[in-house]
């Protein structure tokens, strides 16, 4: 670690991992509710558990992104962070606001939470992923702006590398597009249309910039490959991400009352969305093969290659599977979507944050890499989580294909609930895979505490 202020990232990463555990525990609860419908009912109904599951994911990924930025921006800019105190203050504000929001979901009925937080003044609650009370949303904006100010000032008065500028652009986009969460018209079609300006333009737009810049940074560090080469890749990857992803938003506008031309535009452009992810895979393997040094952190290398592959499979291949309008006509809003969502989020965003944590955490703890035994446990956790996520995705895909056939495609369509009973076995297998994932997460956390011979910073 070259600059003292980089160590603020540690705080962010610890919180991220803690919330990750919460997210997975609720995931396991949800999986069980799929097969035991009355599990925890009416204390924690499915909708509440799901809100906790998805909101914890978003919040911990944001912690992960911000932590990554606080670690890499000073080093790239070759100066201390502009205002370390502000980063610390925002950490606590974000953590407390996040925790209060989650507790609010769990302790009072959602309608009561809406009342307490005066949702009527500016109604923004109750839309998927944007369930946070309006006041929490305002808090998120404040945290995001303070964060942007902090890294922006650091970058402006320091060395301006491509990685830093891409990170800053991605984070600015994240903050700007979140503002659409405050727009909630009564007209349902308009509401849905602009809801995607947050959700799609985040995960299939600016988040890809953040992901690519984190990946590029870690690859420079662990391979020692020339920065010029890596920056060229970075530009072309994010260029393809935005060229395909912006109009690719149209694949969400097939069936919500929007004009017919979106069927063509959305299909064609979103069919190209795997390209940037495929390039990321090529990039990662290429750069690792051309490495100029053998970094002792084997686990970080594994995560970096893993995220490139899994993002391509989850976001690219599983996205393509149901993105063409004639296919999506049948698959829209089924377990196919759930399958894609799980592997895409894990492969692209969970794994890239874990890549950064894997690389930087040992350094912040005064070593160049984790000791051999710790790395072995960490790599075990990589395989447990990654393979179980592959199986979760396959089982949900199986459930989805059957669901589409029984409920939408066959001569004599069944009702939703009857169909759900028929495909129960897939949900059971998914739940088992989910428990393996939880075990993998346990191994991951254990890896931070495994003692062994230290790998000193040279």
């Amino acid at each position: 670690m070259k600059y003292q202020s980089q160590s603020i990232a540690k705080l962010y990463f610890i919180a991220a991992i803690g919330l990750f555990v919460g997210q997975i525990l609720f995931g396991v609860i949800l999986g069980l509710q799929y097969v035991m419908g009355d599990f925890l009912f009416p204390e924690i109904p499915f909708n509440v558990a799901r809100m906790v599951h998805t909101n914890l994911l978003i919040v911990w990924l944001l912690f992960g992104f911000m932590g990554s930025a606080y670690y890499l921006v000073p080093e790239e800019a070759e100066r201390e962070l502009y205002a370390p105190w502000l980063a610390k203050l925002m950490f606590w504000i974000f953590l407390v606001a996040g925790a209060l929001t989650i507790l609010g979901y769990l302790l009072v009925p959602y309608a009561t939470l809406a009342e307490i937080t005066m949702n009527d003044l500016l109604p923004t609650m109750g839309r998927e992923f944007l369930e946070q009370p309006t006041i929490t949303k305002i808090g998120i904006v404040i945290v995001a702006l303070s964060f942007l100010f902090n890294i922006g000032m650091t970058i402006l008065s320091g060395r301006k590398t491509v990685i830093n500028l891409v990170m800053l652009t991605g984070m600015t986009g994240l903050a700007v597009f979140f503002l659409f969460s405050f727009y909630n018209p009564d007209n349902l079609v308009l509401d849905k249309y602009f809801w995607w300006f947050v959700v799609h333009l985040w995960v299939e737009g600016v988040w890809e910039l953040i992901m690519a810049s984190i990946l590029a940074y870690v690859l420079i560090k662990i391979t020692g490959v020339d920065r010029e080469v890596i920056e060229k890749w970075l530009y072309i990857i994010i260029a393809m991400a935005l060229i395909t992803g912006l109009i690719g938003t149209g694949h969400h506008f097939f069936w919500i009352g929007t004009p017919g031309y979106w069927q063509w535009l959305g299909s064609v452009f979103s069919a190209l969305e795997p390209i940037p992810f495929f390039m990321m895979t090529l990039f990662a393997f290429n750069v690792v093969n051309k490495r100029r040094r053998d970094h002792p952190n084997k686990a970080a290398t594994l995560w970096a290659l893993g995220t490139a592959v899994m993002a391509f499979l989850g976001a690219g291949v599983w996205g393509f599977l149901h993105t063409l309008a004639p296919v999506n006509y049948y698959t829209h809003g089924t377990q196919i979507t759930a399958a894609h969502g799980h592997m895409a989020f894990y492969g692209a965003y969970v794994m890239v944050v874990l890549t950064m944590i894997s690389y930087s955490m040992p350094i912040m703890r005064g070593q160049k890499a984790g000791n051999d035994r710790a790395q072995i446990v960490e790599m075990w956790s990589f395989w447990l989580m990654t393979v179980s996520m592959v199986f979760i995705t396959l089982f949900l895909t199986g459930a989805g294909i059957l669901q589409v056939y029984l409920q939408r495609y066959s001569e004599d369509p069944m009702t939703f609930m009857v169909t759900q009973d028929k495909i129960e076995v897939f949900y059971w297998m998914r739940e088992v895979a989910g428990l393996v994932f939880l075990a993998g997460l346990g191994a991951y956390i254990t890896s931070f505490f495994v003692k062994g011979e230290e790998v000193k910073i040279a």
Binding site: Y34, G37, D38, F41, P42, P45, F46, N47, R50, Y110, A111, E115, N119, P123, M125, G126, E128, D186, N187, L188, V189, L190, K192, Y193, V229, E231, K232, W233, Y235, I236, I238, A239, L242, I243, L246, I247, G250, F254, W255, I256, G257, T258, P259, Y261, L265, Y329, H332, G333, Q335, T337, Q407, R408, Y409, P413, M414, T415, F416, M417, T419, Q420
Partner: protein, 145 residues
């Protein structure tokens, strides 16, 4: 990548491409918003429907159901529930009203929300309005949603 393809070219593709397609998205958005009145059933967007939408939101219905295919996949699609229930708002109200407080042993069940008659009417009207939105190819594929 070969030397003939320089970092500068990659950078220009990024800036040029993203600005261009962002402007295209903006243009298409303007066109979409302008043409929505033809399909969005806004002629039936009454105060009652708006109130129903708010109830839909503050009870987090999207946390289990899909509406026009978006939401959670734990409970039935509601974008066509009005049609599925025989174009009868009373049937929708009776279903919501009759949910057992403690659920159904071993099975999924919708919570009992204790809505007033007025609220029930608002939700039913909101679902009727949503059903009236003209989706492409009349999605969902069939009455089961």
């Amino acid at each position: 990548m070969r030397e003939t393809f320089t970092k500068g070219m990659a950078r220009n593709i990024y800036y040029g491409g993203s600005v261009f397609f962002f402007l295209v998205l903006l243009g298409l958005t303007v066109d979409t918003v302008r043409s929505l009145p033809k399909t969005d059933n806004s002629q039936n967007l009454t105060e009652e429907v708006a109130a129903g939408k708010r109830l839909w939101e503050i009870n987090n219905c999207i946390g289990c159901h899909t509406l026009l295919g978006e939401g959670a996949y734990f409970a039935p699609e509601l974008g066509n529930v009005y049609t599925r229930y025989g174009e009868n708002t009373e049937a929708i109200k009776i279903f919501i009203k009759s949910r057992p407080k403690d659920g159904i042993p071993g099975r999924r069940s919708m919570p009992q929300f204790n809505f007033t008659e007025e609220e029930l009417e608002q939700i039913a009207q909101f679902l009727k309005y949503a059903d009236g939105i003209k989706t492409a190819r009349n999605w969902p594929p069939n009455i089961q949603g």
